[in-house]
């Protein structure tokens, strides 16, 4: 009787203890979950792109909006429409408005520098996407343009320094002289090309991210240098104009066109049509996912704005007409809920 009682008690105690342990375990998970979900509502994230209305910014905005919707924080866009003046005003206003995070795609490496520092000082976490500023903030997610440019230049050298090349002439097309794409591309291109004195840089021009201007620039270069061997640009959105000029002049076979971009369906079509000879994709949806990850992390983190400064450079995938299957070409519709 006694033993039975003891046994029963033991069993009860044991099962109870076991059950209690499982319960505690469950509570802890629950706590972690609620900490996660509770850290988002009422928070505010604002995106200041270079401009809305083109593939990359529309994609990222859609991705960020989707996550904001799921997690219950607010997401706003302040569109400067390519105007650094409007962008400065927007960030200036945000400094007083004090959202939790500002996601900035810098119009150039310098124009927001002071403002971003002020934003950090005011306790706003600043996430830079794809176009970096000289002012480092909490996080940068995007392309390592120097590395990208080096790989582009190497491809150019491989083609145009070859003894059987039509000439050693290459052209470099920038966007705006002070945007980060241009500044770092230029550094990378020159680093490689300057080491190859046989390569002759016949033109270095800025097309201000405008495909029609790029087309005009390329047409002029082709008139002056009919035997051009290669041309490299900083961004597919602009360089579609360069490719169009080459196609118009029937030079796509002779001139190697190298560019880079987010890997949209349009870019893939461009590669397929021979608009771009070599295309480096930095997988824009991946950048968007990383952004969302960073946003979630920064919103949960109790660390002060600007205390840790991290970067994440996305991997690059080169593609030609032959290797186009290596790209996962995306469409904006896939992300617009």
């Amino acid at each position: 009787m006694m033993t039975r009682m003891v046994l029963t008690c033991l069993t009860i105690a044991l099962t109870g203890g076991l059950a209690g342990g499982a319960l505690a375990q469950q509570n802890k998970t629950e706590e972690q979950r609620s900490t996660y979900y509770d850290s988002f509502p009422g928070k505010k994230v604002v995106f200041v792109p270079m401009s809305m209305g083109f593939d990359l910014t529309e994609l990222w905005a859609a991705q960020m909006r989707n996550q904001a919707h799921d997690l219950g924080y607010s997401f706003d866009i302040r569109d400067p429409n390519w105007s650094s003046d409007a962008g400065s005003k927007a960030i200036t206003a945000l400094i007083t408005e004090k959202p939790n995070i500002v996601v900035v795609q810098n119009l150039d490496v310098q124009v927001y520098a002071r403002l971003l520092k002020r934003a950090n000082d005011a306790g706003i976490k600043v996430l830079q996407v794809n176009m970096m500023s000289l002012q480092q903030t909490d996080s940068y997610v995007g392309v390592d343009y120097v590395k990208l440019a080096e790989r582009e230049a190497e491809a150019l050298v491989e083609r145009c320094a070859a003894p059987n090349a039509i000439s050693h002439k290459v052209a470099l097309i920038y966007s705006s002289p002070t945007d980060s794409g241009t500044v770092f591309h230029r550094a990378g291109w020159h680093k490689v090309l300057d080491a190859h004195p046989e390569i002759q840089i016949v033109a270095e021009q800025a097309a201000n991210a405008d495909p029609s201007k790029a087309r005009g620039v390329m047409e002029t270069i082709l008139q002056q240098h009919a035997d051009l061997c290669g041309v490299v640009g900083v961004w597919d959105g602009q360089d579609s104009g360069v490719g169009a000029a080459l196609q118009q002049a029937n030079k796509t076979g002779q001139v190697l066109m190298i560019t880079s971009g987010g890997g949209t369906k349009e870019a893939c079509d461009g590669i397929d049509r021979g608009l771009y000879g070599l295309y480096f994709s930095y997988d824009a949806p991946r950048i968007g996912s990383l952004l969302n990850e960073q946003i979630a992390e920064l919103l949960q983190s109790s660390a002060g704005a600007g205390t840790t400064k991290v970067s994440y450079y996305v991997p690059l995938t080169p593609a030609t007409k032959q290797s186009i299957s290596s790209l996962s070409c995306w469409r904006l519709e896939q992300y617009n809920k």
Binding site: R78, D79, P80, S88, Q110, S175, S176, T178, E204
Partner: protein, 705 residues
Amino acid sequence: VLLETLTRIRYRWVPDHVVGELLTKQWMDNAIPFAALTAIGVFAATAVPGFFDIAALPDLGRQFAEFGLIVLGASIVVVSGGIDLSVGSVYALAVLVSLIGLDVQGWSLAQAAAATILVGIVCGAINGILVGYLRLRAFLTTLVALIIYRCVYEIIFLHYGISIVGNSSDSPTLEALAAGAVFGIPISLVVTLSICAAWHVVLSRMRQGWRLIAVGGARRSAFNAGVNVRWTVCSAYIWCSVLTSLAGFMNAARLNSAGSDTGIGLEVTALTAVVLGGISLGGGRGSVPKALMGALFVLILTDVLIARAVSGPTSSLLLGIILLLAVFLDIRWLKNRHKLLHKVYVSPTYLALKTPASRVSDPLSRFALNDKLGAATAIGLGKLEGPEDVILDHSDNLYCGSRHGDIYRFFAPTYQESEVYAHIGGHPLGLAFDRDHNLIACVCGMGLYRVLPNRNVERLTDETNRTLLSIADDSAMRFADDLDIAPDGRIFFSEGTTRYDVSQWGIDGLESRGNGRVICYDPRTGKTRTVLRHLVFANGICMHLDGQSLLFAETWACRISRYWFDGPREGQIERVIDGLPGYPDNINRSSDGHYWLAIAGMRSPVLDLALRMPGFRRRMARRCAADAWMVPNLNRGFVVKFSDEGDILEVLWDRNGQKHPMITSVREHRGVLYLGGVHNNRIGAYRIPEADQNWCALDSYWKKE
């Protein structure tokens, strides 16, 4: 009857005339921009929480400092009659040169500022020489300059862009200029506001500013007036570019950055601000406060649009629409302001006149017609124009005014010879001699004047106390009409209307509102005070023999009243005659202790009825030409003698009105009645039977002691 009562009440309590008076105000030009600015301010405060937050204001101030300077520059050009489209490119060049100087070349702040302003001077001088001296079209020239300067910018920028980025300086002085503040006000804003204050003085009070406005308003007239038009135009462009380049320098200091979009579209934004501020694109009209209001409006609007997350193209579209709207409003306003004013300024009111006891054509009437004045002889026939009042001195010399601003003297006893006794200007109306033989004159359009016995002219007063809460500034005297002098030397004089000038007295009659007043000037203190207001065309003034009261006529109300300015009844008014058959003018004493009254025009039943129908008269004023309006019958000469009880003692007519129509003054002197008329070319002399042949009016005032 009920309807008429309603009409009376409506016109008694609704101040129609205020609308017109508001429109005459110079600041009405500012009213629309100011209302717009207030509206956008309220909108910003409600739509964007914390827009006017203390923390946000310095940033707004810094933006305003830069944009305000550009708008000021653009306004100067627009005021001078031109347009400068190149501001955006000049601005970009200035930013670039500042950055090259500060970051690449390592210049000091002063050197960089000097270089930047030099850029402004050069760009402005090119524009100025092309437009001012070579007289090319401003629009095309500055459009080309916009492109050329932009190209220069892009060439230099491509060359220096990377170096600027690579060498960004963090000099403390630059930082101070960018972020520093004086008593919480950003330094750049202090600089801008000082420049604006200086320019306000220049534009409103100095030669350079007046010349700019003159050239902008009427280039040819300015040239004819001797203004150096070419240099004035050229200088406007130089100033515009200099101010723009200074703004560029401030921006370079603040953001330390130039981009390929720097200054793009700035010319449109600046012009929007200029036009929104109410500065007319036609030139010649504008002020610094207007420019600042416009700049603030555009700045707040763009900031609000960005803060409200309106997409870039949409906000550009909105700004464009607002510019169009502003240009449209500006043109409509300029074109129609005076038309509108003309339409609404005349605002007739309800006036019910007392019906006369009998018609003048009735032989039994106390006003029955005769033709006694037909016997009057003429003085100064053909020499005179508009002797409204007549007066004679102790030596029987006759004085009268003329519409050319002269006081004539006709010599006794024949009154054939005359001379210009004094020239005052305006149109001298009422006349009186004071104790010291000074001739006091009410000069229409000028005020109260005095001619000393040595013929020197002195102004006594042209300003009275302003009525509290009146829209129109009624402190100035537009229509000093008749006067008389109290025994203690105080001068009481009437002002017919405060709303119209001498040539427009007929329009005041159409209104028949109490626009007139009686004013007192006290030579002992030099003070001028309005003593009676809301008189329906205050006209004749005559001292009562008791020395404590005066009689005054209200022309459009057809009545004579007595006002006590002294004694036990001080301040009281008593009606003496109401319902005269005509419109009374000047009153003067007669030798037998009564009063002569000139009646300038005759009433008619139709006009009397119209006076009770203000809406009808307003339509008449708006739709008919002035020469088709109903007016009193002025083609009669009519003089009345009355006692201070209001009894009519004698009636004199010039029945046909051929010699002396519209008699505005009668003056008895040694048995002769002298007749003046504000539109007549003569003075009449009518010998009064049985009058005291030695009575001189001056003696009744200033008895020899």
